[in-house]
């Protein structure tokens, strides 16, 4: 056997063979951390991939997409573009959201000229197959397989949809195969759609394919000069990215969770390996004394870390893939959050991704082993052989300056702007602050333990003395739980703050007693002026406010902003949740608009600035009179006065009605009267402000349910780490317990002492984790949330939740410490005083 082989055998093989239980726990801990990160990534990537695939099929082979607001633009633009030199195919499109009757969610309708669309979206049109001609029949519609399944219709069935405040019966002429398009979609002939949904002469998109060799950039520049205001010529990539924008909130949430999982796993592996090496320092020193070189020791320990990391990571990636498949099958691509409505995501194993996580997990374990291995190998054997050296070695982690420096870098990153709309530096800030927090744990633990008053009871006194004497080692063992707990605290504070702000906001934006919509979200369901009059004339109504939602593009490369046309009272602070501009004096003759925070963040516009709004093919200069908080749309919204809107656009329709009841009138009676006034009135959305608030909060809670679940898993991983640390500490202290039992400490006192150590250390960990978590929550709220969603949140602390969580953690750690100590205090263990140490 080579000398290195002998060193490996002495250092690691004995441990690998002799302590299978402890090794299993180490491998399981690594596996859990890696599996959590893998599962989150696979789900996220799977969902995004499906979303991207769907978006690509809709964009098809177009070189340029001409996109206008949803309400559309005149189809004469298409006629002009089709005649432009260099354009091979031009395909007009009308994209609509249509509401099927029967309580179904809105259905995306893509209305095209089938012959022009065939070369643009070949996969979609091929899906309709030989029934393509049937699309030209009156009221014909072809459905994707997912839409047909959700609507429970087949080819030949009737599909009733809302058109205005009335209804229309479409006829399903074909159901596309599942691989043609995975999401809910309806294809219609453009002329039919224009007629059915009262959009005659209007389209909102033109797909252009250029002749070979034509310069796309130059064409886009040329088109920009001739297109009406608010209509833009876009690169298809921008169009596809926009599709991903709607999932941004969801992805940010999942990214945060993946970060939690990965960091918890990383710190757990580090602390497990570091402690294991610290406790073998005497044996390692002995090997050095008998001739093993530093390098051989270092390499042997690194090899051990690599092996354990590889084993844990291998189990982790397999487990992660299985968990992702199960989660997707049970909860869907949005994990129950409701973001992807009907998107079916499959967790296809991606070898490259799985290999990457295998490498990351193994590398983290190896680094976790290498840092303490270097230190152990570099220590002189004579010093390492002395009892108490492990603490001396761990105490070298106590200097404050490295942690403080990393913390300062983290704090500085929190002030940097987003990169490509993503809070990249925010994530760096969280990771750096977390790392700094962990690096400062040994110093903080020593100071905090010194501050704890000495208790009179001998068990607590001994427990405290033990902790003071091994503060640095204990701090290393607490690292994983501090990481997972502080991240959980940070997320809990962020989610609670968001929920509180959201609830308050709902109260502000829904002040009326009753809110009525033709559908929850649709371009084709609205009230005509006659409908509005009919509602206003109903009994039991004291005040009524109609509202119209539209879209406008403020910049060609960004998603549209929502334009809300509504009556704005003289005091906008009473009607909008203003965050700025309450005292703004509007210049004489200026047209006011109140923009959401997202508009200020994304377009750099603030109170007093002029905003150019493209509407109905024209551009209007409006002055920003205030900035309001909007949790409904992260891509921006602005409010304009409805009278001004009608005067400029001629659009007198309304999509939403807010009703204040007359004294003594009942909401049920008024709702019944409204429903009775319209065809299929039972499908109208008539809800009280309270009901909408409750519904919205339910959706909110459902969206964050998986977050809590995954955080809990992270904390459990952390607890496993603590359990491992306690049990290995208890085993290492067998002789000490034996001596204590000899000199008269009862077995329950020894166990009590261990529970005391667990309680004191975890209480300090909880206190520290709460503080660190609070700091991290500020970055989440003010940086990551703000840069991701473009809305502000007021920080609120969930005291009860945090206190309960802290108490559970302290109790769990105490019980864990107690259980770990039971074996070490058995009658057999009392004789451990005969073992040399």
């Amino acid at each position: 056997m080579s000398s290195f082989g002998a060193v490996v055998r002495a250092v690691s093989l004995g441990r690998l063979r002799g302590q299978p239980g402890r090794l299993t726990v180490t491998v399981a801990a690594i596996a859990l951390g890696v599996s959590l990160a893998t599962a989150v990534f696979v789900i996220n990537a799977g969902a995004l991939n499906e979303f991207g695939l769907a978006a690509r099929k809709l964009v098809g082979a177009a070189d340029v997409i001409v996109r206008g607001p949803r309400q559309g633009f005149d189809e004469s633009v298409f006629v002009r573009l089709a005649q432009e030199p260099g354009i091979d195919v031009a395909s007009p499109v009308l994209e609509l959201e249509v509401v099927p009757l029967g309580g179904h969610p809105p259905l995306k309708v893509m209305a095209v000229d089938p012959f022009r669309a065939a070369p643009m979206q070949p996969e979609l049109l091929a899906g309709v197959g030989r029934d393509l001609m049937a699309l030209f029949e009156p009221g014909a519609v072809a459905l994707s397989a997912e839409a047909a399944r959700e609507l429970a219709v087949r080819a030949g069935d009737v599909l009733s949809v809302r058109a205005g405040a009335g209804t229309y019966d479409l006829r399903v002429v074909a159901v596309m195969p599942a691989d043609a398009y995975a999401q809910r979609l309806a294809l219609m002939d453009i002329a039919t759609a224009q007629w059915v949904f009262d959009r005659v002469g209007r389209i909102n998109r033109i797909d252009l394919r250029l002749e070979q060799g034509r310069d796309v950039g130059r064409l886009r520049e040329r088109l920009a000069a001739v297109l009406p205001a608010g209509v833009n010529a876009l690169n298809p990539g921008v169009e596809r990215d926009r599709a991903a924008e709607v999932t941004r909130a969801y992805r940010v949430n999942l990214n945060m969770l993946a970060l939690v999982a990965l960091l918890t796993g990383a710190f757990l592996v580090f602390s497990t390996q570091a402690l294991s090496i610290l406790r073998r320092r005497s044996a390692l020193a002995l090997l050095r004394a008998v001739g093993a070189t530093r390098r051989q020791l270092e390499l042997a320990l690194l090899l051990e870390g690599l092996l354990l990391g590889a084993a844990g990571s291998l189990v982790g990636v397999v487990l992660g893939q299985v968990v992702a498949s199960l989660a997707l099958a049970r909860l869907g691509g949005d994990l129950g959050g409701g973001f992807f409505g009907g998107l079916e995501v499959v967790a296809r194993p991606q070898p490259v991704v799985l290999a990457a996580f295998l490498v990351i997990g193994t590398a983290v374990a190896a680094i976790g082993a290498w840092l303490p291995a270097r230190e152990a190998a570099a220590t002189s054997p004579s010093r390492a052989l002395k009892s108490g050296d492990a603490e001396q070695a761990a105490a070298r982690l106590r200097p404050v300056w490295p942690g403080a420096a990393v913390g300062l870098v983290g704090a500085a990153c929190a002030w940097l702007p987003p990169v490509g709309g993503l809070p990249v530096f925010g994530y760096v800030s969280v990771a750096a602050l977390l790392a700094a927090g962990v690096m400062l744990v040994p110093a903080a633990a020593a100071r905090l333990l010194d501050a704890v008053p000495s208790p009179a009871a001998v068990t607590w006194k001994t427990a405290l003395a033990q902790l003071r004497g091994s503060a640095s080692q204990s701090a290393v063992s607490l690292a994983a739980i501090i990481v997972s707990f502080s991240l959980m605290v940070a997320m809990a504070i962020m989610v609670y703050s968001f929920r509180e702000s959201f609830e308050r906001w709902l109260g502000e934006v829904l002040p009326a007693d009753l809110h009525v919509r033709v559908a929850s979200s649709s371009d084709t369901a609205y009230w005509t002026p006659a409908d509005q009059e009919a509602i206003a004339d109903l009994d039991g109504i004291q005040r009524i406010r109609f509202q119209r939602w539209q879209e406008a593009y403020l910049a060609p490369d960004r998603p549209p902003v929502a334009v809300i046309a509504r009556e704005v009272s003289r005091d906008p602070t009473q009607a909008l949740p203003l965050v700025r501009g309450a005292d703004f004096e509007l210049p004489a003759g200026a047209v006011p608009t109140w923009v959401s925070e997202a508009v200020t963040d994304l377009y750099g516009i603030d109170v007093g600035d002029t905003l150019e709004l493209p509407l109905a093919g024209r551009r209007f200069d409006l002055v920003v009179a205030g900035v309001w908080r909007d949790y409904g749309r992260s891509t921006g919204a602005l409010v304009v006065d409805r009278d001004w809107y009608i005067a400029r656009t001629g659009d007198e329709t309304a999509s939403h009605v807010a009703i204040w009841l007359a004294p003594g009138a009942s909401a049920e009676d008024v709702a019944r009267r409204i429903r009775g006034r319209f065809e299929r009135g039972e499908d109208l959305q008539v809800l009280t402000g309270t009901a909408i608030r409750e519904l919205s909060l339910r959706v909110f809670d459902r969206a964050f349910a998986v977050t809590y679940l995954l955080e809990a898993v992270a904390v459990v991983i952390g607890l496993i780490g603590v359990s491992f640390a306690f049990s290995s500490q208890a085993l290492a202290r067998r002789a000490e317990f034996g001596m204590l039992r000899h000199v008269g400490m009862l077995r329950r006192q020894v166990v009590g002492m261990l529970a005391g150590e667990g309680a004191i250390m975890s209480a300090l960990g909880v206190l520290y984790g709460l503080t660190l978590g609070f700091v991290l929550s500020l970055v989440l709220v003010y940086v990551i949330n703000r840069q991701s969603f473009n809305w502000s949140i007021d920080v609120a602390l969930p005291w009860v939740q945090l206190a309960l969580l802290g108490a559970v953690l302290v109790a769990a750690a105490s019980v864990t410490a107690m259980l770990s100590g039971r074996a070490a205090t058995s009658a057999q263990a009392v004789r451990a005083v005969r073992e040399d140490w």
């Binding site: 603490e391 001396q392 006194k461 001994t462 000899h742 000199v743 009862l746 077995r747 005083v833 073992e835």
Partner: protein, 231 residues
């Protein structure tokens, strides 16, 4: 010092085996330890010296025979009662010292008093006295890592006697020390036992160590037999 007539510890016909199908480690051991007597039990490695010590300490039970400590049958005590008895009336010195590295010298010495619920006013002077007696006056606030092997074992001796036990059990207390230090520690141990009015049992395989005792017993072939001191 001659033994008084009253026996502190009596072992009668003790038999101990670790498995029913294996020969007894101790077979028919009889022994009596008088008040103030300091006895050495000698024997080669593996003859059952530590097993005998465990039985005397009430940490283990004999398969046959009886052990009376100041009239109490150790075999009839449950774990808690045996622990409380050790706490109040026994002291231990181990080969590997077993002082707690995270406690100061004073806290290590005071541990048995803490366990007995002594007040700080009772504890402090007693700890001072014991440190003075073992030659470590002024060492109270040091940590074990700052001490030599001999000094650490003196801390263990002070701890073993600080609560004025009736019986001190020392298991190879000089096994980790050099001969000169070992000799000093053994003399200190004997003197302290006598000064505190305790009885003592010294387990050793060293004849030189055994010679510091009042009486020497040889454990060989599962039996105890008297041996004459060399001096």
């Amino acid at each position: 010092m001659p033994a008084s007539s009253r026996a502190v510890l009596q072992l009668s016909a003790i038999v101990k085996r670790y498995a029913p199908d294996r020969p007894a480690v101790l077979d028919g051991i009889d022994m009596e330890l008088g008040q103030g007597e300091y006895v050495a039990i000698m024997g080669e490695s593996g003859v059952g010296k530590s097993t005998l010590l465990n039985l005397m300490a009430g940490l283990d039970r004999p398969d046959a025979g009886r052990i009376l400590f100041e009239g109490a049958d150790l075999g009839g005590l449950d774990d808690d009662s045996a622990t409380l008895l050790r706490r109040e009336r026994m002291g231990f010195v181990f080969q590997a010292f077993h002082v707690l590295p995270y406690m100061t010298v004073a806290d290590n010495v005071g541990l048995p008093l803490d366990l007995a619920g002594a007040s700080p006013a009772e504890r402090a002077p007693r700890v001072e006295t014991m440190l003075d007696r073992v030659g470590l006056a002024g060492y109270g606030q040091r940590y074990p890592r700052e001490l030599s092997g001999g000094e650490t074992q003196r801390v263990a001796i002070a701890r073993a006697l600080v609560h004025r036990p009736r019986l001190l059990l020392a298991d190879e207390p000089t096994g980790n020390l050099d001969p000169r230090t070992a000799s000093l520690v053994l003399e200190l141990l004997r003197d302290c036992v006598h000064a505190e009015g305790a009885s003592g049992v010294l387990i050793t395989h060293s004849r030189a160590a055994a010679d510091t005792a009042d009486r020497i017993l040889l454990l060989d072939g599962r039996r105890l037999s008297p041996a004459q001191p060399a001096r």
